[in-house]
Symmetry: C2
Subunit: 430 residues, 2 copies
């Protein structure tokens, strides 16, 4: 099945908002095994919208449209799509009742205009909107399937996941399941190199690498007739990746590094504090993004002057004057200070030159990340500059990544020690 995506909206044409809907739908359709070869954006103009719908139906089996389902006269997506498929619009009492209930629930007053949103093409399947007024819908004619979805991402995304995805899965007859393996410390092409034979063989499950800033994700996708079957196919594939790239894997289906950190620290019953310089609070911010973080993070101390490093973290004046603020020694004392000043189990620190100017005669991109924990202290020297343009944000983000990864390693050492301890106990019990 081939599909295409048509997003309607003047604010997209003007570049006022990013087209996250197109990216979301593209990923979702790809996961469903539907090949998407065209994405289009047009405004609420009858002629151009009609032309775009006709063109899409001439070359694709499925057309997914977003936007233009609102209550005003210039919302014409439904009318245009229905006309292209030769469908009349008919009153849908259920859609109206749902909308009335939504207004009642949110304490807003329904206007006469909103009645327009309760008309749907005859024979259409209606997707209820849990987060707004415009229902979604699917209609079929002339061997084509057209799906209309509301424009706001917070309405469209849950509607797609909860209602449209199962609807489409029922039609394609195949179910796709994916797992995502998260790598750190290896580049995309190096990871690809390790898996090339497999990727080129194109077997089921398939494997696809994706690069994020400083991270690589491997998406492993199995196609099967049901979930159980898919899971059976996925398990050995993930194991195979672990065999080849185990050293770089920090988690499977973990969402993000900060998520993995909070999960690991909670599992081990550990607490963490951060001492940040070049990342300016970014490590703490990413950890506290996770709603379980309050059980893990005690404090995040961002010291942006030498005086503050001494006063708040207990870094020695001699260390700062001898080695400078950007040094392995200062990083270590900062991590130690984060731990001792806050009573946390683990302290993690960052200090470096984020740029754009060098500092203390040290180059942009030089960053030290240190850990202090009951299972040892260590420091890592990083060279994060790529030598092109404005990269302050990139260097800071990568430094945050390394600090989060370092925290994760500390939790892992604790875990290994516990396991070691159990093994020793087992040995004594023999």
């Amino acid at each position: 099945m081939t599909g295409e995506i048509l997003c309607v909206g003047t604010e997209l044409l003007l570049g006022d908002i990013l087209n996250t809907n197109a990216a979301f739908l593209a990923r979702q359709l790809a996961e469903l095994g539907i090949g998407v070869y065209h994405q289009t954006v047009v405004g609420d103009n009858a002629g151009r919208l009609g032309g775009a719908v006709a063109l899409a139906l001439s070359r694709s089996d499925l057309l997914v449209m977003t936007g233009g389902l609102g209550p005003t006269y210039d919302d014409i997506t439904k009318e245009t799509a229905a006309a292209a498929l030769g469908k009349k619009l008919v009153w849908n009492q259920q859609a109206y009742d749902r909308m009335a209930a939504y207004f009642a629930r949110t304490g807003r007053v329904m206007s006469e205009n909103n009645r327009k949103q309760a008309y749907v093409p005859e024979g259409a399947v209606v997707f209820q909107n849990e987060n707004g007024t415009a229902p979604g819908m699917a209609m079929q004619a002339k061997g084509k399937l057209v799906i209309l979805l509301p424009g706001p991402p917070n309405e469209m995304e849950p509607m797609f996941q909860d209602q449209v995805r199962p609807y489409l899965q029922g039609r394609t007859g195949q179910t796709f399941y994916s797992r995502t393996v998260h790598l750190f410390g290896i580049g995309e092409s190096a990871a690809e190199q390790q898996l090339r034979d497999w990727m080129e063989a194109g077997t089921n499950p398939t494997i696809a690498p994706y690069a994020k800033t400083g991270e690589v994700l491997l998406r492993v996708t199995a196609a099967a007739t049901d979930e159980e079957q898919a899971k059976k196919l996925l398990a050995p594939a993930v194991q195979k990746i672990q065999g080849r790239l185990g050293d770089y894997i920090y988690g499977v289906d973990v969402v993000s590094l900060q998520n993995a950190v909070v999960r690991a620290f909670r599992q081990q019953g550990l607490t963490l504090s951060t001492a940040e310089s070049c990342t300016g609070g970014g490590v703490a911010r990413r950890i506290t993004e996770i709603s379980g973080a309050s059980a893990v993070l005690r404090a995040g101390i961002c010291t942006y002057t030498n005086e503050m490093k001494r006063k708040l973290l207990g870094v020695r004046a001699a260390t700062l004057s001898q080695y400078g603020a950007v040094s392995a020694q200062t990083a270590l004392e900062m991590a130690r200070g984060a731990r001792t000043q806050t009573g946390a189990d683990v302290g993690v620190s960052t200090t470096g030159v984020a740029g754009p100017e060098p500092s203390e005669g040290k180059p942009v991109g030089l960053v030290y990340v240190a850990v202090s924990s009951p299972w040892g202290e260590w420091v890592k020297e990083l060279h994060l500059a790529r030598g092109s343009g404005a990269e302050r944000d990139r260097i800071r983000h990568l430094a945050e990544n390394h600090a989060l990864y370092a925290a994760l390693q500390a939790a892992k050492r604790k875990e290994e020690e516990s396991t070691q301890g159990e093994k020793e106990e087992d040995a004594q019990n023999v």
Copy 2:
């Protein structure tokens, strides 16, 4: 002149990356007064790309394409566009020399493949790439203009701004200049209400409101034959906005709240420290995003437990037990603590319930932001929940905004006092 945007890339079709290029180009072309009615995405497939180019040329005067200019055999954008306009590709020594210099500068080795990138359509204008290997180009035929740009945003955006924009301005004969007025504490529709008569009149300069999370920007754009003329038109328009919305304006052309904070603190010679709870380091992180922040920020102390609030910020145990961590009293003591513990001129704090769960029996979205400064202390109670879905990130971001705005107000008070002082001095000197 009508234009359209055609982005080439499999990673866009798969939804692996957001199409920031389309949004950037849409904004830029709108500012140049070029009407854009279509945006399209296709992959590196000769048939489909050729079809998309032919369709675009059949309906628009200008086609701007991004992506597919790389050195490999599946990069076919240049070849396809040149064929559509009936142009041969010819060797361009200057493009080659620039590319060779780029490789030398970044210490990388140029491969034989890269030679492909030095071929350009005959008669094309070449735009040099300062941040990568693929040059951009503009070519004309059959009354149409086609512009090809590299796909990576860090290469495309500066190339457009520095080279393509002036090139297009030269062709449209009109120059557009914009200023952006930044508002805080007023919603988009309320701001629009104040300016509706003007917006509807559609005069020159035009005014367009844009909503960001918790902020509103007003873009005022003047069309004129030269820069001086445009500036003459812009100045009274900006003044008019200041007259109507002055209370909400925190800056003109300031990029961001954090930028305005760093600028104001530097101007006033002030230092700042933050004490954060619900924002988890986010305020400090945003301030340190700005490269001049080291002259302003002393420390950012993120305290995620009551014990840490006591120990690191000196919040009194009685305050915490009587009013709770999320209270006006705790917020004030945190701000005071940030100031006294670090010796900064101004302390700003956040404490609140970011969710998803209520805390201390207090609702999600309740946030206190406080300031302690030599010009007074104050605290603001905020109710930031909107009651729909996952909004932890949104609440944290809005709380950061309010804290940054509060810091800005402190700097403003200092400024007012200085001005007041000068006036009094003036009065005495009379």
